[in-house]
Every structure is written in structure tokens, then in C-alpha cells.
Symmetry: C2
């Protein structure tokens, strides 16, 4: 029996060590292990469809880990098994690696019905995305039917997460002067639901005002492609207030999308998007690492920058070099 | 003397017919004319730097043409010569071709100090963008030092316009119930200034409230890369109210960016972006038109969609076909 077959049987039987080992296999750069990983992913694919995949985005300090801890326990109380993953290819930019401190998920990280996996080490977004997508499939095949993919909303990560999840939760906090921290332009585009965290004690009133402002701002924006605007909820991981409502909102949205067929339609669109995106990354990588191109690139760029060469003529010249013409 | 040399001398001398003919040359698909067009653009390049390039984005019905008419006349009153261009590669989506009705720019379209050019016929965004960029250079070399590039904010056009202008004006109208029409997600990202149009008569009070709401919404968003948030102005092309203030705001912003060097820095970044973007378009086009790829594409996509083939494995297979490996 191959390693992939053996791991597959063990993870299907709920063996946590096998799941951890399977993920390590998917993350491996060794060609023979990649071969095994491909085989394992193929076996998991038919068993992965029913797991719900949710993105959780928020800047450092918003309280992602503690909220995921609270939310994950609620999912478990409702009979689900939870997995928590993370996308963070560029941890230097994010101000510390997310999930680096598993201890902040005090209850979830030790719960038998939960599986918490810190982010894999860096690499290209495409590489990280691929490994994360495959890890989702492994966790789903291992019986984790509620999968939370955590990301800091500081760059392209939240767009990548939007391409691999069924719905997305954006976490925000209110700062001094009622300002909402954590709306980076573009991020709200991928939010299905927004939760203002740390709504307890002295924050409660301020957060309520912030929620009103945010709802008004959202009303000014066009809806997502599916015609929806993100709802805004208030919650506190510390007191637990709002967490059941958050779970209900997420489950309700997922059920509606399952019922009207848009959930699987979205997944098919995502798969085709990743295929096309991987083709592009591959073509561009071949171009950029082509010695014929890289030998002339800086001279050509210099001419473009000083205005003596038209950018489109420069591009044509570079592509001719790449084709060896 | 070649056609390009003759056209260049005539357009530099202010011959409007020569400018119109030069633009037609740039839009031509004939290889011999493209050759002449390249030569002409090269000659214009050193004379194009001092013209200010402004994007004007707004959905159909916002009153783009009438506002551009009013704004353009103000620029002329301040001693400038104006050119009005348009980007609209996908007019079916935009609900009618913009500038199709030059008569809506009643005064500008017949003014000797203005040059109004309807959008070129469709094509890829890259193709339209290239022709528009070159048309900007021709107009600038012909002495038009205030260039307005009009676009409907319905898709990728406003992002393309952001890549070829020095600053961008977003036009909005207030609709029923104080809602602001015309904020499509992502569009505000490229706005340097927002003008709420048709602020006259019964609209005046409603627009003032809408401006307040909009300023609050903008305060919740992160600033542009340059640290600025778009200002919000009220104006009416019909009464002329707010139009001088709009002109002053645009000129002030341009002067500040010229003084601190960011204007030319932005143009250099744009040129490199267009070069890279043209390389990508060319590589992808070669891939998509490769018979070895297109012969297998739909079968491979079908496997991805039904979940039997991993998107990344599908991409690798397609790239191998393209390389003939």
C-alpha cells in the first residue's frame, strides 16, 4: 500500500496524526512526496464537497484568534467538527505570524472535535493558495465539516481566500473617535458578513455607533455580484455576546446558497479561476526566468522610464526575445 | 517626407484636421499605417510631458458630457486648450456609446480651443488603452494642455484610465432617498476628487446631505497610496455653480503633485505597468490561440468543473501542451 493510500484510510477514520502528516505531505517540496500528495488529494476530492468553507479576515489586533475560538466551540456544540487554517504568505507585512500563537485558541486547540493548523511557511501566493486549498480538502475528507480559513486583510491574501471559501466574515474593531479600524479599500468587496469585535464593557456603546456608521457606508456601495450587501453584527468573544447570532447568520447564508445552487456554482467558478491563474503564473514565471529576457530587461525598462521607448513597443521587443525570434 | 513627418509638423502648427488624421492613423489596423503611427508617436513623445491628463468617470446619466462641456470652457477661459477623449471598449455594457452624441458638448465641440474625439471602436481593453494613450500624446503635442479622458465606471475601464491619467474625477448623482448612485465597488479606489453633479433646484438640499454622507463613508476607508482621501464637491453644469471650485481643486492638486515630483513618478510607474501588462496580454494571447491548447481546453475544463481534476494539475497539463512538451 502506498503512503498516500495508508494516510487516506487513517485520516478518513479520524486519525488526527494522519491528518497532520497528510498536510505536511501536501506542503512538501520533495518531488516524490509531491507525487504522493497529488494521489492523496485525488482520493480526498470526492469526500470534500459537504464541508462549509468560511474565510475570516481581520487586521492584527482585531481579535481573530479569540473569536475563532468562541465561534469554533459553538459550531462544535451544534454537532460539527471544526478545522482552522490560515493564509499568510507574507508574514513580515502582517506584523507577526497569525496563528503562530495557538495558545490564543485556548479551548479549540485542545478540543478533540477541532483541528488547528498554523500557516505554512511563505512562498508565492499561488503556492500558498494551492497548499491551503489542498489542506481544506484533506480536512474535509477527515470529517471536519466547518472549515475556517484565517487571513490578515493586508494585501492580496483576502482576495485569495475569497477564491477558496463559500463565504467570508470580516472582523473589525472600533478605535478612538468612533473610527472603524480595518477597512482597507477593496477588502469590503469580499465580505459577506462583518462582525465588530470586542463589543463589551466600555466598547459597547462606541461599537453600536460604529455599526450604524458602517451600515450607512455599506448602503452607499454597490452590492456584490450576487446582489447582497454584507450585514453588520456586534459580538464579543470574551462575554460570548453575539456569537450565537454570528453562527446563525453564517449558517443561514450557507443554507440559502446551498438551496439555490449558488454555492456549488461559486466553487466551480473558483476552480476554473485557479486553473487560469496557475496558467498565467506559469507563463509569466517562464518569461521572467528566461535569460534572454532578464539580460535585456533593465536596459529596456530604463528606456521606458526616461520616455524614449513606448511601453507597448518595449513589451513587443521583450516577448520577441522570449520567443527566440 | 513621410506621412508621419508631414502630419507631425502640421499638428504641431495647430492644424485640427492633421490631429484628427493622426488619431485615425493611430487607430488603424493596417501594418503600413501602424508603422507610420509608431513613428508619429515617437516624434510627439518629447512634446507631450506638460499636458495635464485627467480622468472623468461616471455612470450613464450622471451628466458627464454637460459637466465636461462646462469644465472645458472654464479651462479655456484660463488660457488652456482642451482635448476630450473617451475609453469605452465595451459600449454594449455601458448602455450606449459615450460621446456618441457630441452635441451634448454644445459649446466645447465647436470651440476652436477644444478638440473632442469620440471613442474608437471596440477591441480588447489593452488595444483600446494603447490607442487612447497614444491619442493623449498626439493631442498634447498638438498643444492641448488639458486632456480629459471620459469613461463610464462600469468595469475595468476606470482602472485603465487610472493608469494613464495624472488625476481622476469621479462624478456622482444623488437618487431617491438620498442614496448616492454610481459608487460601484472599487471605483472609489481610483478617485482623487468626487463631484456630485446636478446640484441645482430641488436637488440642492438632497445633494448637500448626500455629500455629508459620502464624506463620512470616505473617512471610514483607507487613503490612496499617496495618503490622500478624495474630496467631495457639489456642482451644477446647468447653473455653473461649483464648476470654478472644481477647476481650482483639480489645478491645485496637479500643481502640488508637480511640485513634489509625484506626478512624473506616477507617469513612470504607469509606463512600466503598461509594459508589463502588454507582456502578459501577449503571453496569454499566444497561449489562448495555440491550437494545441484550444483543442484540449474544453475537455480539461470539464474535468475541473466536475471535480475530477485538480485546477493546478489542469494548468500544468495545459502549459505542457503549449510548450509542446
Amino acid at each position: 500500500m502506498t503512503m498516500a493510500n495508508s494516510l487516506f484510510e487513517r485520516l478518513r477514520a479520524g486519525d488526527r496524526a494522519a491528518l497532520a502528516k497528510a498536510i505536511t505531505l501536501v506542503e512538501s517540496a520533495r518531488p516524490d512526496e509531491q507525487e504522493e500528495a497529488r494521489s492523496l488529494v485525488r482520493q480526498c476530492l470526492p469526500h470534500a464537497a459537504s464541508a462549509l468553507r468560511m474565510g475570516v479576515t481581520g487586521i492584527p489586533g482585531v481579535g481573530k484568534s479569540t473569536l475563532i475560538d468562541a465561534l469554533g466551540l459553538h459550531f462544535i456544540e451544534h454537532g460539527h467538527r471544526v478545522a482552522v487554517l490560515a493564509i499568510d504568505p507574507s508574514s513580515p507585512k502582517s506584523g507577526g505570524s497569525i496563528l503562530g500563537d495557538k495558545t490564543r485558541m485556548e479551548r479549540l486547540s485542545v478540543h478533540p472535535q477541532a483541528f488547528v493548523r498554523p500557516t505554512a511557511a511563505g512562498g508565492t501566493l499561488g503556492g500558498v493558495a494551492r497548499r491551503t486549498r489542498e489542506t481544506i480538502l484533506l480536512c474535509a475528507a477527515a470529517g471536519h465539516d466547518r472549515i475556517l480559513v484565517e487571513t490578515v486583510g493586508v494585501g492580496q491574501n483576502e482576495l485569495a481566500v475569497d477564491r477558496m471559501t463559500d463565504l467570508n466574515l470580516l472582523l473589525m474593531i472600533s478605535g478612538a473617535g468612533d473610527d472603524l479600524q480595518g477597512i482597507k479599500r477593496g477588502i469590503m468587496e469580499s465580505a459577506d458578513l462583518i462582525a465588530i469585535t470586542k463589543t463589551d464593557g466600555a466598547n459597547a456603546e462606541r461599537n453600536a455607533r460604529a455599526a450604524t456608521d458602517l451600515r450607512q457606508a455599506i448602503a452607499l456601495l454597490s452590492p456584490r455580484e450576487n446582489g447582497e450587501r454584507p450585514g453588520v453584527l456586534l459580538c464579543s468573544a470574551r462575554t460570548g455576546s453575539g456569537v450565537p447570532e454570528l453562527l446563525r447568520a453564517l449558517e443561514g447564508m450557507a443554507a440559502a446558497r446551498l438551496a439555490d445552487g449558488t454555492l456549488f456554482q461559486r466553487r466551480r467558478g473558483q476552480d476554473l479561476w485557479w486553473m487560469r491563474s496557475a496558467v498565467e503564473e506559469s507563463l509569466l514565471n517562464a518569461f521572467q526566468t528566461d535569460a534572454r529576457v532578464s539580460g535585456s530587461l533593465s536596459a529596456i525598462e530604463a528606456q521606458v522610464v526616461d520616455g524614449t521607448l513606448d511601453p507597448f513597443e518595449a513589451a513587443a521587443a521583450l516577448v520577441r526575445l522570449h520567443r527566440g525570434a
